[in-house]
């Protein structure tokens, strides 16, 4: 079976010469939920930007469900990889929720009744259908994050990539989002510092550190390895133990 996402010896240096990725290898199977952990500056965001071709690999390849990321395939790649940004105000740029959720599929050429169905179905999946005609700035932060998830679900992606999905959420919104993410039957890659959230949602975790994958295994085992975590500036919050 083809993997949802395959990254092979991916290396990247910014135009100013700073090397951010030094050969990243990873493979995520269809339906998996994987957490990407790592300290600030480890290259997490840089890696994410490669997954849908916003940054172009200096060396190595990224393949999404069998399709390599390349200039000619960008449109399809961006449909397959649903990127949810950290700040929902960056993600929700249209005047109303409806138009925002429709933006992706409309760019893919979906129109009329089918577009309407897609928008409603995506909002239904995140429990935000009643907000369909509201402007994003009238929603709470947690609601905006959920709508942000819907904007990429409407594109029926192969893999959902979330950048710090739990940041700035109050405990109830954080739990609601977890329930929504668990209910989706889609491959998920979640970039986070929130280790309990990773444990709650992802059976498998990767540690990206110094521009390479430093660890790859079941989340529980990784979080139980205090030495490994400490070596990569990660730690469980006070009072937690993964054992």
């Amino acid at each position: 079976m083809t993997a949802s996402l395959e990254v092979d010896r991916l290396a990247y240096a910014y135009p100013d010469g700073t090397q951010a990725l030094f050969g990243v290898d990873l493979r995520i199977e269809r339906g998996e939920r994987v957490a990407l952990l790592g300290p600030n500056g480890a290259g997490k965001t840089t890696l994410v930007m490669h997954l849908n071709g916003i940054l172009t690999a200096g060396h190595g390849t990224v393949t999404v469900a069998g399709l390599p990321v390349a200039k000619g395939s960008l449109k399809e790649i961006r449909r397959r990889v649903g990127l949810v940004f950290q700040d929902p105000d960056d993600q929700l740029f249209m005047p109303t929720v409806r138009e925002d959720v429709a933006f992706g599929p409309a760019n893919m050429g979906v129109r009329g009744e089918e577009l309407d169905q897609r928008v409603k179905a995506a909002l239904e999946r995140v429990g935000m259908l009643e907000a369909i005609d509201r402007p994003p700035h009238h929603l709470s932060f947690g609601q905006r994050r959920r709508v942000a998830v819907a904007t990429v679900l409407a594109m029926e992606p192969e893999i959902l990539v979330l950048d710090e999905p739990s940041s700035n959420l109050d405990p109830a919104s954080r739990r609601e989002l977890a329930e929504i993410l668990r209910s989706l039957d889609v491959t998920v890659l979640m970039v986070t510092h929130d280790l309990p959230y990773a444990l709650e949602l992802c059976e498998r975790s990767l540690i990206l550190s110094g521009g390479v994958i430093a660890a790859d295994g079941p989340t529980r085992e990784i979080l139980a390895d205090a030495e490994l975590l400490a070596a990569h500036r990660l730690e469980l919050p006070y009072g937690f133990s993964a054992g």
């Binding site: 930007m49 961006r78 940004f85 960056d90 249209m94 138009e99 933006f103 760019n107 009238h138 594109m155």
Partner: protein
Amino acid sequence: MSAGHHHQLYRAGDTPAHRLPPQCKLAAVVGFVVTVVATPREWFAAFAAYALLLAGVLLLAKIPPGFVLRRMAIEVPFVLFALAIPFVGTGERISVAGLSLSLPGLWAAWNILAKATLGVVASVLLAATTEPRMLLLGAQRLRLPPLMVQIAMFMLRYMDVILDEMRRMRVARESRGFTARDVRHIPVVARSAGALFIRSYERGERVHLAMLSRGYTGSMPVIHDLTASARQWLAAGTLPGAALAVLLGSVLLKTGEW
């Protein structure tokens, strides 16, 4: 949360004037204003007829006069300018209540006042019956330069976000004991404005990335199908059509006199 304070121009309603597609209304207002501007300033009766036409549409749209008057405040600087012209104008002078006024100046002031007032009322009418975002969709539909329409759309969306950011920066300044009281504080406020600009610029970059990630290729996809029927165009055409009829009628009358 700031509840859209920049939408004060819009007055929700369900009248025929509200229901017309935005592109029809936009075209109608432009047509009306062009007709008004093309009318020679001496034709008082024509201006009175235009005003009556506008009043009729305001009545139809159920917009109370007070609402229109308050929103006409934007015209005040032009009014002040127009009022100054008869005093500073040159040419033949006449004496009104002991004041020496320039006759060409009076005509110029009347010209500005009459045309500007009709234009502003027509615009207030448009804004009062059309939501800002619909107005932009109408502009898009009329094939106005897409870049300008998109910029206006983002302004509408991010106004509150940026105002919030501005407010947070002010709170941060004041929390550290700063209050802007006199001119010596201008540099501090100016630096904040610069920081705000950079933050907004960076946000723009992030928004652009988010747009690219969802397949943006330079033009906004058509999401609302805003087709207008011939009947709706006809309905919207009533106002500029009637104004044009007044103008043409006046032309015929005037030429008949000669």
